[in-house]
């Protein structure tokens, strides 16, 4: 194979359409003789065979992932986008109220390791970083995000109530993540999101409603901290199931959401349509 080396290129000026234009002239490549072409062709064929033989004898070159069997060891590239998710700040906070909380309390998130936490004297609480600024909602090109805010009981300020993300219309452009000034959301690696009803693809991303972690941790009293946050289901709220019951799935309790910014009550059908 013959290639032009930079040394062979001549630079000159030619008059083209009445103007002097600098041009680079490559020499005409000589056509090699038949035996030379034969042997160079043979060499290239053997190079290819050497490469495939290397693939054949080296098991480490196999790229196949035996998917359902390798869930434990599955690795994703950092930029892999499977589902939008909230980032959480984990705070280790001492327990001041030694009263065992009511497990049915709707305002308290019960971690699985509650008993262990209580025996240690402190608990690990995770708080989101979302302030409810709605930058992501504005940035979303196909209106897949809806941030519902409320006026908090404790803070008496605007804070996020529900962060609703529609996976069925999301096109994973990452614009919301880039638009977020508080680094509150990211594209997570939770794959296996298939469902049988597309209404289930509408998620409530935040685990709790309430102010972001930066505000929560300013408050020293843990009971006040707990009162700031209220629990939210992943598929919770009126929008995901739109108030309907599906086979094997109960309709979630429908409560009207009061939009804090306008004070109007949203209708269920509004988000679905």
């Amino acid at each position: 194979m013959a290639l032009v080396s930079p040394k062979q290129v001549r630079y000159e000026r030619r008059s083209i359409a009445g103007r002097e234009i600098p041009v680079a002239v490559a020499p005409t490549l000589p056509r090699h003789s038949v035996p030379a072409r034969f042997f160079s062709g043979l060499y290239s064929l053997l190079t290819g065979m050497k490469l495939t033989l290397r693939y054949f004898v080296k098991p480490s070159t196999i790229v196949t992932r035996q998917y359902p069997n390798n869930r434990e060891t599955l690795k994703f590239p950092d930029r892999y986008r499977a589902a939008l998710k909230f980032k959480y700040v984990t705070v280790r906070q001492p327990i001041t109220d030694w009263e065992f909380p009511d497990p049915k309390s709707p305002t308290l998130r019960l971690p699985a390791s509650l008993l262990r936490d209580w025996s240690r004297g402190y608990e690990d609480a995770s708080y989101h970083k979302c302030t409810g600024c709605k930058n992501c909602e504005v940035a979303c090109p196909n209106a897949s995000i809806r941030v519902v805010t409320r006026i908090g009981e404790v803070t008496e300020d605007r804070e996020v109530d529900r962060f609703i993300w529609r996976m069925d219309s999301c096109m994973y452009c990452n614009a919301c993540v880039q638009a977020c000034p508080f680094d509150a959301i990211e594209m997570g690696h939770d794959y296996e999101n298939a469902v049988y009803d597309r209404r289930l693809l509408v998620y409530n991303l935040n685990r709790q409603a309430g102010p972001p972690a930066s505000l929560v941790t300013e408050e020293e009293d843990i009971t006040v901290r707990r009162r700031m946050m209220s629990h939210r289901e992943r598929c919770g709220g009126p929008i995901p199931l739109n108030g309907h019951a599906l086979p094997n799935l109960h309709a979630l309790p429908v409560t009207p959401i009061v939009d804090a910014s306008t004070g109007s009550i949203e209708r269920n059908s509004e988000a679905e349509s």
Partner: protein, 364 residues
């Protein structure tokens, strides 16, 4: 120590046993049938699995690994699936020919399976014009493809069949010229005699250069004859849908598929028999102790080793090289392989005249 092998085909043994009675004769004939039928089944299953596995590893994949250990039952399951699939015949097709063509395609390699010597005693029929028979019947193999493509009444099938015809007729010449070199060297067309003539060394290295060149020419042209990549223009997935078997489905499609794989074994077995000594162990002239060590491996194992080495070579080539264009294919045959083949034949006749071999023939 010089080992001599008792060479006798199953047909001859059956003929001899006629003196004893009709039952042993029938037994021998049944054995022959069993050998060929068993080979067809085992090769069909094994080679398809092997091809998929080897192809996968050439392409950094794993290949079938779900059904049975290493997926060895995958082909069996595929066969069962194909058996239950609907056999569709196009509306305007020539029905008789359409249904007949797969059997025609399968008959060719099965006929050749009968004359290949797998071992000194493991050969169904040892006919005295073995090489002529092989090239004649091998050329007949195109009939199945032509009939199948023509009778489908589909433009892709017809183009594929015509391409197959042109290709096989062209490459038949080079293949036969390469076979003739070995016929010149061994002085016989009988396949078992060709094998025994390689007692002192295989023809691929014993005739300086010429044998190797003939071997390479035979490999290239037989790969073209069995329509495998890089010469698979009769199928040409990217150009002709599936070529001559576009309209075939179910078991008839799998017959074409089976014929292709048995053809591959036949080509590999013939290359092994003619150039690599067939079932003859690797001997070097008068190195008695070396030859004695090599004799420890049974002849059938030698044949299988050589045949599967060549099958691996054919698969390796298939999964490495891109497909040739139609004009490049004809260019390669008529302007390169054929002149080289003729020159090689002349060189071979000079060598045969002057007895210019490594370890010259004793008789001359």
């Amino acid at each position: 120590m010089d080992t001599t092998y008792q060479v006798k085909s199953i047909a001859e043994q059956a003929a001899d046993s006629l003196n004893v009675g009709i039952l042993p004769t029938l037994g021998y004939l049944g054995l022959a049938l069993l050998l060929v039928a068993g080979l067809v089944v085992v090769l069909g299953m094994g080679l398809i699995w092997l091809e998929r596995k080897i192809a996968a590893h050439f392409q950094c994949r794993l290949g079938p690994n779900r059904v049975g250990p290493f997926g060895i039952f995958q082909t069996l399951m595929d066969t069962i699936k194909l058996l239950f699939k609907e056999d569709i015949v196009p509306m305007r097709a020539d029905k008789t020919l359409h249904l007949f063509a797969p059997f025609l395609a399968l008959a060719t390699p099965v006929l050749i399976l009968g004359v290949i010597p797998y071992g000194p005693l493991q050969q169904v029929a040892d006919i005295s014009i073995g090489v002529l028979f092989v090239s004649a019947v091998g050329g007949f193999g195109v009939m199945g493809i032509l009939v199948g493509g023509w009778s489908s009444n589909n433009k892709w099938s017809t183009i594929g069949a015509m391409r197959a015809g042109a290709q096989i007729i062209s490459y038949e010449l080079s293949a036969t010229l390469a076979l003739l070199v070995v016929v010149l060297f061994s002085g016989s067309m009988k396949l078992s005699a060709i094998v025994t003539s390689q007692h002192d060394g295989w023809w691929v290295w014993r005739a300086p250069g010429v044998g190797l060149l003939a071997f390479v020419i035979y490999l290239i042209s037989s790969t073209a004859e069995i329509n495998r990549l890089p010469f698979d223009i009769p199928e040409g997935e990217s150009e002709l849908a599936a070529g001559f078997h576009t309209e075939y489905s179910g078991m008839r499609f799998s017959f074409f598929f089976l014929a292709e794989f048995i053809n591959m074994f036949v080509a590999a077995g013939l290359a092994a028999t003619l150039f690599l000594g067939g079932w003859m162990p690797f001997h070097i002239g008068d190195w008695a102790s070396f030859n004695a060590v090599m004799d420890l491996i049974p002849p059938v194992a030698w044949f299988s080793l050589k045949a599967f080495f060549i099958i691996f070579l054919i698969m390796w080539v298939r999964w490495t090289f891109p497909r040739l264009r139609v004009d490049q294919l004809m260019h390669l045959e008529w302007r390169f392989l054929l002149p080289i083949g003729f020159a090689n034949l002349i060189a071979a006749s000079l060598i045969a005249l002057t007895n210019f071999y490594f370890y010259p023939l004793a008789g001359n």
